[in-house]
């Protein structure tokens, strides 16, 4: 829609953004109001506890502390979204080539460093704002239904609003320091929300893990800022990116050092190898939080960081190849793990890590637009998948609760056959599944295909720095796409198809979610279908795949982001030359490979549906024996046997190995060791604190002697 507007308005005209500051301020306002309500509520329940009772929320009318957040929490985000849309229309009409900077006050002036409290409005920040406020709004609405019985309801919305505030600071800040403010802020909110249900020991540990890993990432961000400042004497995006191509020669180590430290930061936030381990554990938080923070927005901050710094990354082919490598390895690795998980949220968590890997691959190979594009479509379908999973868990949880059955409401082995109980959730989640699997014409097809194609195309560029490596990336990305189709189909089949395994009495209580929860699902489903059409590659839009000519929007997203990425594209054009229009292996153009990948993905979906559907699933409690009774049924399919021996078992072995050994032993162990080592040093240090005054005087004297000795010699 807005892309069409851009096309009709020829020639630039002056455009002034409408209340951009309000977009940031509204969520903050929401946080303040909801926070105040939360504090009042906390005081009231404390009073109730003291009086020997408990604040009963289920009985009678809900207090104001619970009705107001319902309107204020989603309301402020909705308003922010509307303002963003108004600005989007304005920006599309203005044919903007330079970012618009709004400065509010001078934040820091010291010696050579000046930092303004300023926001930057350009095409990239606009996309991010749309995703954050748009998807954020839908998830807020969903939360109204999902969290309605939670005693900490106002507190929950306060945190959620605060998160959106910091996320907007992150994407709208006009310099690295302001971005860092948002970066730290979203980390804090994530930490708070993972441990939201804090009574649970495991959940609080998960928050801790996220905390430690993110500190490591933040360290990378800080050090990178340090080097940036010493190189450029500023932290402003506009100044750095215009000065960088002249100040830093192509391939110089300065660019490599800065970007590699940024990569460390990005890997921490976006859960990439080796810092991905916190994300699966972060699923301990409420499911809408997983959708918002750990799927759609915060975890994509690392991708945004790389895309925003595209000029710096383009200057360093080594760092770029590292980004892409980490991305593709993470994508493959996480996808293999997802094959074997039974917890529905864990499958989605590993899937998110895998998809983030794709985005890293995209921005790593230099296809910055493709990376951001996948970020956007992924926000749609992954938010949908998480919310859908939330709806399922919600329903199963309530059903189990009715009969006090002590089963895990997140284990897919306890589900099955939910389709007839939750038809809307089923339908919308299938749309998301097809989208993430890369089936034409769903959103994920266009974005994922573009990334995979870009990896191949850059492998064949005229002066490609590492053609073989990029070819390997391309192959791995293709394989991962097929694994994705498999594990997602497995999730759908185990959850919604076949016979129900929740229990006979319980199954009667399985219900479709209320409208406040399924309407957001439906909107996201629509976006998962149509969201990809804004950026149909030229090679496809000119063919029948482009929708028989009814998709007139070839490469619009590219044109939209071009002003932001122009600097990086210029460097690429200068040093890498023309990209290839042939795949690195077997030949064939973009259209051929797009056809092949969607065809293969579709076949995998069908195979997976058959294989998983044909398996005999038992509830988690009965599944202690690996094969159990299912063995006989299992043998009926000769195809399955072959499939099992040739593909499933090796993949399972790999999956188990990655999950159990690499994940649990090596990476967990290293993180724990770092923490324990620091504490051990601290303990040794505190040993000297004997409380004896002569010990203190003795250490004092040693200090004096060392210093005087140093002076004397």
């Amino acid at each position: 829609m807005f892309f069409a507007l851009q096309a009709t308005t020829e020639g630039a005209h002056e455009w002034s953004p409408v209340l951009p500051g309000l977009v940031i301020l509204l969520p903050l306002l929401g946080f303040v109001i909801n926070g105040a309500l939360a504090l009042t509520h906390a005081r009231r329940s404390a009073d109730a506890v003291r009086a020997g009772g408990e604040l009963d929320l289920a009985a009678g009318d809900r207090p104001l502390t619970h009705t107001l957040p319902t309107w204020i929490g989603p309301g402020v985000i909705g308003l922010a979204f509307l303002i963003t849309v108004v600005n989007l229309v304005g920006m599309a009409g203005a044919d903007l080539h330079e970012p618009i900077i709004r400065t509010y006050w001078t934040w820091i002036v010291t010696g050579s460093l000046t930092v303004d409290a300023a926001i930057q409005l350009d095409q990239l920040s606009m996309v991010m704002m749309l995703v954050v406020t748009g998807v954020g709004f839908l998830i807020h609405v969903f939360s109204v239904g999902y969290m309605k019985d939670d005693p900490g309801y106002p507190r929950y919305f306060a945190y959620l609003n605060l998160f959106i505030f910091f996320m907007l600071v992150l994407v709208m800040g006009a310099g690295y320091l302001l971005m860092f403010v948002g970066w730290e802020g979203v980390g804090l909110c994530s930490y708070l929300l993972i441990g939201y249900w804090f009574s649970d020991r495991e959940k609080s540990d998960a928050g801790k893990k996220a905390f430690i890993v993110n500190r490591i990432g933040d360290l990378g961000f800080l050090v990178a800022m340090f080097f940036l400042f010493t190189t450029f004497q500023t932290l402003d995006f506009v100044e750095i990116f215009s000065a960088a191509p002249e100040r830093i020669p192509y391939g110089h180590s300065v660019a490599t050092i800065i970007t590699l430290f940024f990569l460390l930061g990005a890997a921490g936030k976006s859960a990439q190898i080796p810092l991905y381990i916190w994300l699966p554990d972060a699923m301990a938080g409420p499911t809408p939080v997983s959708a918002l923070i750990h799927a759609a927005t915060m975890v994509t901050a690392g991708v945004y960081l790389v895309a925003r710094s595209s000029v710096l990354f383009a200057l360093s082919p080594i760092a770029s190849a590292t980004v892409a490598g980490i991305g593709v390895i993470t994508a493959l690795f996480a996808a293999t793990i997802a094959l074997k998980q039974y917890d529905i949220k864990r499958v989605l968590a590993y899937s998110t890590i895998s998809q983030l890997g794709y985005m890293f691959l995209g921005v790593g190979v230099g296809a910055y637009t493709a990376g951001v594009f996948h970020l956007m479509t992924h926000a749609f379908f992954k938010a949908l998948l998480f919310l859908g999973a939330g709806a399922v868990i919600h329903s199963v949880h309530h059903a189990l609760h009715h009969t006090d059955k002590d089963w895990d409401a997140q284990d897919m082995r306890n589900m099955g056959g939910l389709r007839k109980h939750m038809p809307i959730t089923w339908a919308t989640m299938w749309i998301a599944t097809l989208a993430i699997s890369g089936i034409w014409p769903f959103a994920g097809f266009f974005s994922k295909d573009e990334i995979i194609w870009a990896a191949g195309a850059w492998a064949g560029a005229a002066n490609a720095p590492y053609p073989t490596l990029y070819t390997v990336y391309w192959v791995l990305a293709l394989v991962t796409a097929l694994l994705t189709a498999f594990y997602m189909t497995r999730l759908m089949v185990m959850t919604f198809h076949g016979a129900n395994r929740t229990g006979e009495k319980e199954a009667k209580h399985l219900r479709e979610t209320p409208a406040v929860m399924w309407v957001p699902l439906a909107v996201l489903a629509a976006l998962s279908v149509f969201g990809g059409w804004i950026n149909v590659p030229a090679a496809i839009s000119e063919s029948f795949l482009g929708g028989f000519g009814f998709l007139p929007m070839g490469e619009n997203f590219h044109h939209w982001l071009e002003p932001v990425m122009a600097g990086a594209h210029e460097i690429q054009a200068q040093h890498l030359g023309e990209i290839s229009h042939q795949a690195p292996l077997f030949g064939g153009g973009e259209l051929v490979w797009a056809l092949a990948s969607t065809g293969l993905a579709a076949i995998v979906v069908l195979i997976a549906a058959r294989v998983v559907g044909g398996q005999k699933h038992v509830p988690a409690v009965d599944a202690a024996e690996p094969r159990g009774l299912g063995r006989v049924l299992y043998r009926k399919y000769y195809v399955d046997e072959a499939y099992d021996a040739v593909i499933v078992r090796p993949v399972h072995a790999l999956s188990r190995f990655s999950w159990r050994f690499v994940d649990d032993v090596i990476i967990d162990g290293t993180v724990n060791m770092a923490g324990n080592l620091a504490r051990a040093f601290g303990w040794v240090g505190s040993l000297f604190q004997t409380g004896q005054i002569n010990t203190y005087a003795f250490i004092f004297t040693i200090g004096v002697l060392v210093i005087l000795g140093w002076v004397a010699f």
Binding site: A42, I108, T110, F198, R679, L708
Partner: protein, 503 residues
């Protein structure tokens, strides 16, 4: 009207020392009032004496503001009337005022002698102000002793508490020990440079007439004396025990006031007098900074007492602030002043919460004791979280800004390693600060009556609100406080040149 002070007339000293005089008189009045029969029998004696002290602090603050309109002629005087001193005075007066507000309930509940408590508090503030204004090593020493002796007595003030007495004795003995080194350093410097006047020392070093061998030892011993007062590793050993043992309001007061006083005197002596021998002393301070930052942050990780954790946090902050001394430039000086101002508010604020959670006594100081504070006492939880975030240097708070300014000064001086260590150790410190916040918000209180019915009197509330307001304001709009700090740093630099050209 601009007033000119010419220190050849003794009377002008009375004007130059107006804030100190006001506060000294007030201290005497409070002391006298405290022993009067009517006051002793009054149930509101603590509150009355507290507000009386606060009044004295406010008048002293007015006098301090008035001194901005005064210019001095010549600079060979014993005391300075420059922006540096006046800025430091703002910090001392803030620390004293905050401490008074914070302490009223505690002094009342613990039945401390209110007249003595507030009298000593004001007198030690006078000592701090002398340290900031001194242009002579002897005056610094006098200020140091006025301040220290008052603080020793305040540490041991709770006679019913064994830990308080023990802490007072420890502090006194080790303080006396370090004073010996400090005084010996003054003597050696005098021997080398022929004067105890800071400007004269700078001149003697500048024209090469100072005896370099003696001076080296003098500088080192002075550094040790200051390092003890700012509690830098390895001269920090007293800090955890004394901070933990002293009555909490006293801990709050000295953690901010004593540290600031020691740092501003440290800076003036080393920046102005010993600038010429920078090459000889920077490495000493460099190592003190590294040891303090690394050592204290590591040890703080394993602390179970919040009060003790804050003591190690104070040592770590001494390390951060030592960066400004090593940087030896105007940017860092301004950063130091700015940071000390913010530090005063966040540290006293944090101790005030520790005191409140302990129900105006020395109880509930373990980290586990903070479980459920957020849900039971949400406002206290929010305030403590802000203080902790600021201490950790979280963006949006004054503590973050302060670290940025210190780093900026260090970068201008090309201290890359020190800056990197500051950043690394700051990241480490997040763990122990946020652990407290985590306990407050993420853990349920063990019993129904935990944290219920904590007294938060009006004065304490006022102090907390002021503290949070200052931290957030300086974090979001640091401009005005920094401008003032920069002018203060400038006055020190120009004073340096003025004193050199005066001879």
């Amino acid at each position: 009207m601009t007033m000119h002070l010419d220190f050849s007339s003794q009377g002008h000293y009375l004007i130059a020392l107006l804030p100190e005089l006001v506060l000294s008189v007030c201290a005497m009045v409070v002391l006298m009032a405290g022993v009067s029969k009517r006051m002793r029998n009054s149930p509101d004696r603590v509150t009355d004496l507290g507000w009386l002290s606060l009044l004295g602090i406010l008048v002293a603050a007015l006098a301090n503001g008035w001194l901005y309109g005064v210019t001095e002629v010549g600079s060979s005087a014993m005391v300075a009337v420059d922006g540096f001193r006046l800025y430091a005075n703002w910090i001392f007066l803030s620390a004293a005022g905050m401490s008074v507000l914070v302490s009223i309930a505690y002094v009342d509940k613990q039945k401390l002698q209110a007249g003595e408590f507030y009298g000593l508090l004001l007198l030690s503030t006078v000592g701090m102000m002398f340290m900031a204004s001194a242009r002579d090593l002897i005056v610094i020493f006098l200020g140091l002793e006025i301040m220290s002796i008052a603080v020793y007595a305040m540490t041991a003030m709770n006679r019913r508490d064994r830990k308080s007495a023990e802490a007072g004795l420890k502090y006194f003995l080790l303080g006396a020990f370090s004073t010996g080194f400090f005084l010996y350093g003054i003597a050696l410097t005098y021997g080398a440079a022929g004067s105890t006047n800071i400007a004269a020392i700078a001149v003697a070093i500048g024209d090469g007439s100072a005896h370099t061998g003696l001076l080296g030892f003098g500088v080192a011993l002075l550094a040790i004396g200051f390092a003890f007062k700012v509690s830098a590793v390895p001269f920090h050993m007293w800090t955890p025990d004394v901070y933990e043992g002293a009555p909490t309001p006293v801990t709050a007061f000295m953690s901010a006031g004593v540290k600031t006083a020691a740092f501003v005197a440290f800076l003036r002596v080393f920046f102005v007098a010993f600038d010429g021998v920078y090459a000889q002393w920077w490495a000493i301070i460099w190592w003190l900074a590294v040891l303090s930052m690394v050592g204290a942050n590591l040890i703080a990780l394993v602390q179970v007492s919040v009060k003790r954790m804050l003591a190690y946090s104070g040592i770590a902050h001494a390390g951060y602030l030592l960066l400004a001394i090593v940087s030896n430039n105007g940017t860092a000086t301004a950063g130091l002043l700015f940071y000390l101002l913010v530090y005063t508010f966040m540290n006293i604020g944090a101790f005030a919460i520790v005191m409140t959670v302990g129900d105006q006594a020395e109880r509930n100081q373990r980290i586990d004791d903070y479980a459920g504070l957020g849900s039971r006492q949400p406002m206290l939880g929010v305030f403590m979280t802000i203080f902790l975030l600021s201490l950790a240097g979280f963006p949006g708070t004054g503590g973050f800004m302060g670290k940025i300014f210190l780093l900026q000064g260090a970068m201008d001086a090309n201290l890359v390693y020190l800056s990197t260590i500051l950043v690394l150790t700051t990241v480490l410190s997040y763990w122990y600060y946020l652990r407290v916040a985590w306990f407050m918000w993420m853990r349920e209180a063990p019993d129904a009556d935990t944290h219920v019915g904590l007294a938060v009197p009006v004065a304490l509330r006022l102090a907390l609100i002021v503290g949070v307001a200052v931290i957030l304001y300086t974090g979001i709009f640091p401009g005005s406080a920094l401008e003032l700090a920069r002018a203060a740093a400038e006055s020190l630099t120009s004073g340096r040149f003025l004193s050199l050209s005066a001879r």
